[in-house]
Symmetry: C2
């Protein structure tokens, strides 16, 4: 079934998702704080400057593609009640408890909520979405048909569909994605650069620094501020580095001790 | 010209180098604190338990393949003077000023000294040495023919030959190899593990953790204790992580400030 999908926040990630949805035959419309009317015209998408009109455009799905940090402001500025028809709201943020809580708080009770995290983007998904992971949590679903139709967009592209609670997602993401971004940002602060004697391992770190800093600092802050498990992982990382330092100091003392005897 | 090469320290790295040298037609012999007579017998290498006999075996080259931490002990326990014939001493440690200084101090004045760092090992060099980097510094060379003959072992396998002072090597290695090992060890202390929602970046970190900890902690300590530039880089890394933490805290305060106004 062809869906009418309204995208809120038409930045690079929203555009990236829209392309595949159009290819699949869905009808897209968009609204954004920035005026994307020209780009939307080229893509064959109706662009609404007026959010109220956008909301009245009879969407099956409203897909929220804002940044983590702007979600709250964007949602509270939308005239969400009353909606003409029950709608499935979907978010695609890299943290999951925060949008779940906000959506549960601000949406009319008759709206369905699906929280998702496509674990890929314009870079990693440029050659298709096959085998890339799509995480989702059916937070409040009454209309199973629409929800399943929407999930089918990703399943039919070959995504690895992974149903997981928002809490479990955030726990795991703090240990993996957030730590990865923190290492990448730290290497950027350290200003590491390729040398004539790079080892293979060092080359992967230079690469990591580059991919991490291609994302905005706002994204990184969002991963920290709106994932309640991140602060502990940051502390764990600091402590791990401290322990390595202590182990080096201890080994050094042993060596000096040996040399002096 | 076929060289007679005596290896001091016949651990995995010495064995790894020996295989290619034998393949090229050189005559190998070895001595080590551990008894490798059986392995050497299988490889067609003469093994000497007695270091004095090893030194008298008329070697063109004595190739030192000990660990960084044991170099001093091994060298000072060898009856190095007088040597029957002038010999080229070569080391292959991952730090360069330390062996240079030690060799200059303990070797008879008539011995030549070549300090090298093959930037590869049994893992990265298992499919040949083509395009892998071989760093060297001609610390004290009078017999250019023997030295050039020895370097040819690596050049003829396709290594990228890189002449560089020991000091320059250690500066660059502290910024690259040492930092890489430190990140790998820190991730090991943090006990990172693959999750069902790994990003590509996180997968490279899990991989880095594994390759780093496959090397001994002694190697890592050696990179720190015997590279005078490493302590500063470790401090820089700590500070970089601190700055990232501060940037997050600042962004978080801004966000909370915005929400409260």
């Amino acid at each position: 079934m062809s869906l009418k999908i309204g995208i809120v926040g038409f930045g690079s990630f929203g555009q990236f998702l829209a392309k595949t949805m159009i290819k699949q035959g869905h009808t897209l419309r968009a609204t954004s704080r920035t005026d994307y009317s020209q780009l939307c015209h080229q893509m064959g998408i109706q662009f609404f400057r007026d959010v109220a009109e956008f909301l009245e455009a009879d969407n099956h799905v409203i897909l929220i593609c804002t940044s983590i940090l702007s979600l709250s402001k964007v949602l509270t500025s939308m005239p969400l009640t009353p909606l003409k028809t029950p709608t499935l709201f979907v978010d695609v943020l890299s943290v999951k408890e925060h949008p779940r809580d906000l959506l549960l708080r601000v949406l009319p009770e008759e709206s369905d909520i699906l929280c998702t995290h496509p674990m890929f983007g314009p870079d990693s998904g440029k050659d298709g979405w096959k085998d890339l992971t799509f995480v989702y949590d059916k937070v409040r679903i009454r209309d199973e048909a629409i929800c399943s139709n929407f999930l089918q967009i990703f399943a039919s592209e070959g995504c690895r569909m992974l149903q997981m609670s928002c809490e479990e997602h955030d726990k795991l993401a703090a240990k993996s994605q957030f730590i990865t971004h923190t290492i990448g940002r730290t290497l950027a602060e350290l200003d590491i650069k390729s040398t004539p004697i790079d080892t293979k391992g060092f080359q992967t770190l230079v690469q990591l620094k580059e991919t991490t800093t291609r994302d905005s600092f706002d994204l990184y802050s969002g991963l920290f501020i709106h994932n309640r498990f991140a602060v502990q992982e940051l502390e764990n990382l600091e402590r791990a580095l401290q322990r390595v330092k202590e182990m080096l100091a201890q080994r050094m003392n042993e060596e000096l001790g040996t040399e002096n005897t």
